[in-house]
Symmetry: C2
Subunit: 339 residues, 2 copies
């Protein structure tokens, strides 16, 4: 009587090899589609693998080849249509290369980003994609020490860690302010999160202030709706709290479309006419801006393109290209009915 087979041990290539009376090496080659293996053999191997319920062990492969098959991606939030689109663009393009995304979200905290970088680097990612150009010193040191290509997306940092795929928040704001000024809107207010908690929003604010100064508009009022992330309800409650004081301004420039939408509905509830009494603009070309009533003037940002262009940059890197790329995908002013 022999020992019963251990039902808890996983099926390995060795088991498959035994079943077809071949070496594990041949099984490995057959399953990966190596052309040197005889077609008959390949078929037999595949049949045996299926029959035994063999499941390939990517961990072992990653360990042996020292290639994890991972690309680490760190986003501020996953609950944001724009970032989600970037994620999708990246995923779709990376599938073809057999790469998988290892996702982390920081909740807009650089400290959490640092912890994530540390955690994700331990997984040996073949590249790491970060959102924005603002990081802790420790993060920068970690990334400099690791031999991993870095891509920063969504902004155009002045001091890039490596490659960059993004757009200029300042340029976008310049277009937007010019449009508002052309329409006779001179008294602007900016509604966003506390700038320290949202660097991207802060960059938009800076762009707004610079553009306003360029056009000799009076200095815009800055309204902070609390720490990032802020969304529809924050936009709404700020305007509700301000009441009719919002009409001190010609235009309310919001850090994002959801915020703008909240602000707009609050205005409507207060009986303030948009855009007659106040213009409202958003940022990001979220679906709500195109469907709301009135449609919200916004800035289109090609979020999914940021993802796919990033994937293309990664392909180049894996193909041996080393010189840092700096890609500006641009943005586009999208006129709605609120300005």
């Amino acid at each position: 009587m022999t020992t019963p087979p251990d039902m808890t041990r996983r099926v390995t290539m060795r088991d498959v090899a035994r079943a077809v009376d071949m070496s594990p090496m041949t099984v490995s080659r057959a399953l990966r589609g190596d052309q040197t293996v005889n077609p008959d053999t390949r078929e037999k191997v595949q049949a045996a693998a299926t029959q035994l319920g063999y499941v390939y062990d990517t961990t072992a492969q990653a360990f042996r080849t020292q290639k994890s098959g991972f690309v680490a991606v760190i986003l501020p939030s996953i609950n944001n249509a724009n970032f989600a689109e970037t994620y999708r663009g990246l995923t779709d393009a990376l599938v073809e290369s057999g790469l998988q995304i290892l996702l982390g979200s920081t909740g807009y905290s650089v400290e959490k980003e640092e912890a994530l970088v540390r955690q994700l680097l331990a997984r040996n990612p073949q590249a790491i994609v970060l959102t924005g150009g603002h990081h802790t010193d420790e993060t920068r040191a970690l990334l400099a020490g690791a031999r991993v290509p870095v891509v920063e997306v969504w902004d155009l940092p002045s001091d890039p860690l490596g490659h960059v795929v993004g757009f200029s928040n300042a340029d976008a704001m310049t277009d937007l302010v010019r449009h508002l000024a052309d329409g006779g809107r001179r008294h602007l207010a900016f509604l966003g999160a506390e700038p320290e908690t949202d660097r991207r929003g802060a960059a938009r604010l800076d762009g707004l202030l610079a553009a306003a100064a360029d056009l000799n508009l009076p200095p815009p009022k800055v309204i902070a709706a609390g720490p990032a992330p802020i969304s529809m309800r924050h936009g709404a409650s700020v305007v509700t709290d301000m009441g009719r004081d919002v009409t001190d301004f010609n235009a309310l420039v919001c850090v994002s479309d959801p915020v703008a939408f909240g602000a707009m509905t609050a205005c409507q509830r207060l009986g303030i006419k948009v855009p007659e009494q106040i213009a409202i603009t958003g940022f990001g070309h979220f679906e709500v801006a195109a469907v709301s009533n009135p449609r919200i003037t916004t800035v289109g940002v090609y979020a999914s393109q940021i993802g796919s262009r990033t994937a293309a940059v990664l392909q180049d890197i894996f193909a041996g290209q080393t010189s840092p790329q700096f890609i500006d995908v641009g943005s586009e002013l999208i006129l709605g009915e609120t300005s």
Copy 2:
């Protein structure tokens, strides 16, 4: 003159061990905080590790211990506030256990789900979380063969693969239809994606039909806005295309809040008064439902709780609990101004 150190090789525990003149085992223990190692030794080891820029190799650990530290999570879409919330609830709760999420999104396709299951199983996840109870036979076979705990979330499948954390779409619809009927709305229409492409929506539709029959309402009209996923613009364009015909109904029950919002704004543009001429309801308690004007009557679904409860189930599983859990987190009718 000695050979220069190979600058490309990664720093391993062996290197750290050499630096402090100890065995790699001691380094391993020190870095993991094993209490048996002398405090002085631990400090020396940590200092050397930092100094050498040592980065822990989770891949090697995963390989050796046969524990990947991964929980595979498969969602239909990441660009959906509800699923994103579930993801966040899960992540937040799992961080404490040192587990990482390996995310996949199916785009509402069971075939893509199958491919993802295959791919993710190869990473040796310690558990796998699927959305919904509808899977291909091959997927079911794969999961049955793998010795991995399975949790299905967001629905209450009649034939669960393992554990379940969800709510009853049918129950939710019963409440909703009763509310509408109480308000004198008897002629209902359901606006959703093509049922074959959206099982969750189909479950809601089934619930609606059953509830309507129970209350002796005339059979609701079913309107399909195309393959899943559908969102604001689909809701809007369906209503726009129908024009004033929508007022053939008392109430338009939408598969989700975004769809309801689109339908509502289209009504407004057509000059159809909501709720006077037609009630509109959504599903999911998205932010837009609470902020829009009028606020949309909807069903609250505790998305983040699904995530955290799922994490709790996983903890139980890792602690040895084996009997399948079946958790109904319920849902809640949230009255707005559109019904």
